[in-house]
Symmetry: C2
């Protein structure tokens, strides 16, 4: 029997108890899902507490717990002990970022990599084709990469501070693919991974696919806060942590060397698996005075270091390097064989040749130059108030005011001819009061187009 009449305490959600079928918890979960996906329950809405809803429906409150759990794992809602359960910011839509050529828009959304440099790659492909061993690249051999390709990879990563042997490196099909492999290999459904409050939206989606919960941790201008991480680790059972130390996506924050060591101490203490996505090492190592080494070096036995070549060398050739501790090796190899079989040796060979011939460094220095120019242009339109973030980042993180509806803002800007992403897309958990736009500087067809787009943006935002 319900105890209260609820007339004085209106609940934000009153599911029709007649619509409930057995099993109750599944039925309730699907009612909730419907109301969220249909938009009836807006993002941020506080759902009734478990006990209250249970009372209303006259069932046990743990049955509500179960129903809520189903929706939480699907990323539709999130729960905060003590304060309640809320509809997630990105509940009703997919935040996957991919190339979308439908309209003639100025691309500030997807972060490309100044594709102007691809002409250099073209010549190198010809050199690879001329090699007498080309045929050897077309079979099933060496699923994790041919030994000399791995040597070239080590050569490439040496300047970032990575040192290992060919047994602990694998060539995979891009950094995103490396992340998928890592989650498949080392985590189980229901595991938790700590991330920054704002993080790479495709990692959020990947976590959903693998049914891994993300635990957002607060940070400051030097990266994630060790105390906050410590707090969460001691509170709940956390299995891993995802970091992008060289230039966090989307915030452009670089983790300082001291902070790396502090974080490493917490990670070591709680035996987390560190997933270090160091896609931007090429922009940071040797450039930023504070840069010492990747976190992998501090925690080699419990880390996966991922070095993608899409941003630094060429985006269309899907090649990334994974470096891992011995304890993780077997599981990772198994996941690679089952998800990829292998990565095309032809693609890997082109990247290898670019590295060994020195062309890769040439490409990098061109890209740095382009990044410098693009950032200079950006600061003409949006002066950088502080020195926060990476000075050469391929994207910027612009604080905005008064545009709380992420979807609507993105739509309006599309109407203005600009594709850009609102910060809500990058939220790993609950919402925050501050709002931003992530503005890719590396994806327009020309620097003129970049200027045009930024001009439209300044006008729109003022």
């Amino acid at each position: 029997m319900p105890v209260n009449s609820f007339e004085h305490y209106p609940m934000s959600w009153k599911p029709d108890s007649k619509a409930l079928k057995r099993p109750l918890y599944k039925s309730l979960a699907s009612l909730l899902e419907q109301d969220i996906v249909s938009g009836f329950l807006a993002p941020g809405t506080k759902l009734p507490p478990q006990r209250e809803l249970a009372d209303f429906l006259d069932i046990n409150f743990t049955t509500i717990t179960r129903a809520y759990k189903i929706c939480e794992v699907k990323g539709l809602i999130y729960a905060v002990t003590g304060s309640g359960t809320f509809v997630a910011p990105n509940a009703a839509r997919s935040i996957t970022i991919s190339r979308d050529k439908t309209a003639n828009l100025i691309e500030f959304g997807l972060v490309s990599s100044f594709e102007q440099t691809n002409a250099i790659v073209k010549d190198t492909i010809q050199k690879v084709v001329d090699k007498r061993y080309l045929e050897q690249l077309l079979n099933y051999n060496d699923p994790t990469g041919i030994p000399y390709q791995k040597s070239a990879a080590l050569n490439w990563m040496e300047s970032f501070g990575i040192h290992t042997d060919p047994e602990h490196i694998a060539i995979v099909s891009g950094a995103q693919n490396a992340l998928a492999i890592t989650l498949a290999a080392l985590f189980e459904p229901g595991n938790r991974i700590a991330t920054d409050l704002y993080t790479y939206s495709n990692f959020i989606e990947l976590a959903k696919i693998f049914h891994i919960q993300l635990v957002p941790i607060k940070g400051d201008q030097f990266g994630m806060l060790p105390d906050e991480l410590e707090k969460q680790c001691s509170q709940t059972n956390i299995h891993g942590i995802f970091l992008m130390p060289s230039c966090s996506n989307p915030t452009t924050v670089m983790i300082s060397d001291i902070r790396k060591q502090e974080l490493a101490a917490v990670i070591r203490k709680h035996r987390l698996i560190l997933i270090e996505d160091d896609m931007h090492a090429f922009l940071t190592a040797g450039m930023i005075p504070d840069y010492q080494q990747p976190m992998f070096n501090l925690l080699p036995q419990q880390s996966v270091y991922i070095c993608g070549t899409s941003k630094s060398i060429c985006s269309g050739l899907r090649v990334a390097y994974m470096v891992y501790g011995d304890a993780l090796r077997e599981k990772i190899l198994r996941a690679i064989f089952n998800i990829n079989v292998k990565t095309s040796s032809l693609d890997a060979e082109v990247i290898t040749e670019l590295i060994l011939s020195g062309k890769a460094h040439e490409i990098v220095s061109q890209k740095k130059q382009l990044a410098q120019t693009a950032n200079d242009i950006y600061s003409e339109y949006f002066p950088l108030k502080t020195t926060v973030g990476h000075p050469l980042s391929f994207y910027r993180w612009l604080p905005i005011q008064g545009h709380n509806d992420a979807f609507q803002l993105e739509m309006h800007l599309k109407g203005q001819g600009i594709r850009v992403f609102h910060s809500d897309r990058f939220l790993s958990g609950q919402t925050t009061p501050e709002k931003y736009l992530r503005i890719a500087l590396s994806s327009t067809n020309s620097l003129d187009e970049l200027k045009t787009g930024l001009k439209i943006l300044t006008q729109y935002l003022n």
Copy 2:
């Protein structure tokens, strides 16, 4: 309080109740896992019934259910209602098949694809490099394939009976990758997929990675038995079915056209998602008199059709085509973007050029010729007693007697210089009394080596 003393009914497994910590079910599961992985509990061992073990440990029997469930999802054990719980045949080892070059062995294990034909591919790569639009293949554009590449794909699959539009096809990085994407996109942990008793071992491993349970269904010489499928579907909640109609791996069984229709009726009735791995269509369509069309055509809205080009065209270029119904499209695209971002347009372009230039058909006819010769050689050593199975299969399924320890047999044959796989590797669930070897005919360096290997094998088995 325990009710019985158990002295008269010895249990196969008596965990130390003092070793149990809280939570009980996790602790118990890990004790069980240890004893299985260490080999203390051999494959096939019957575990104590849930109630009996509960009585012994003096806890509730559903706590045992939970512990068993954890191990079942990990593939360590399997449960049969009414008869009990058993240690799985492949519990203690990984059955992932991958290239393994460690020793100088004759390769009868991994199924390659007569790599002699790769010389033709070499010339085509040069043609691709000469194209003026090569640079356009090096960016993030067209993540599911460039429109004309998709047209070529449709062109290629037309002879297999596939007709669709470019919106319902995607280019991915090989058939195994397509399977990973399909499982990630369309299934949830705990879902069940029906498979043949013997099935592709990397699919079994993939199911483990995604925590999907396989439900083995009996079959005969024409493929899976519809009645058995119907029975299982009405008994438990099954979400999908995995079939290789053109030439099942490892049994070489081809599903007859009548059987396809009967199976389709059951699949439709129970709304299963059909995963049709039609890697061998090129060996079957137009070759086998009975061949009419893929099952995709019978169930276009609830099927994923996978057409790999590794076996038919070139194994090192990681390219497969996925064809799917509109209802599945969005989820599949999301999984592709998150697991691959895209497949190398360079690789896809080479395959496209091979198809459009007619070279692909040339390669196929060479491979068919090689397959014919290899099968002829095989039948000199192991006369085919019946007409069961595909006549041109790249591998054969040899019944053997008296070698029940799969691992030991594989080891002994390695000692003889041969790498080959025992049927236990391909078991999707419980064990069977019949034993086989899967013998790859397409992976030796020469036909002479094939003969040598087969000779050693006949001698060993007699």
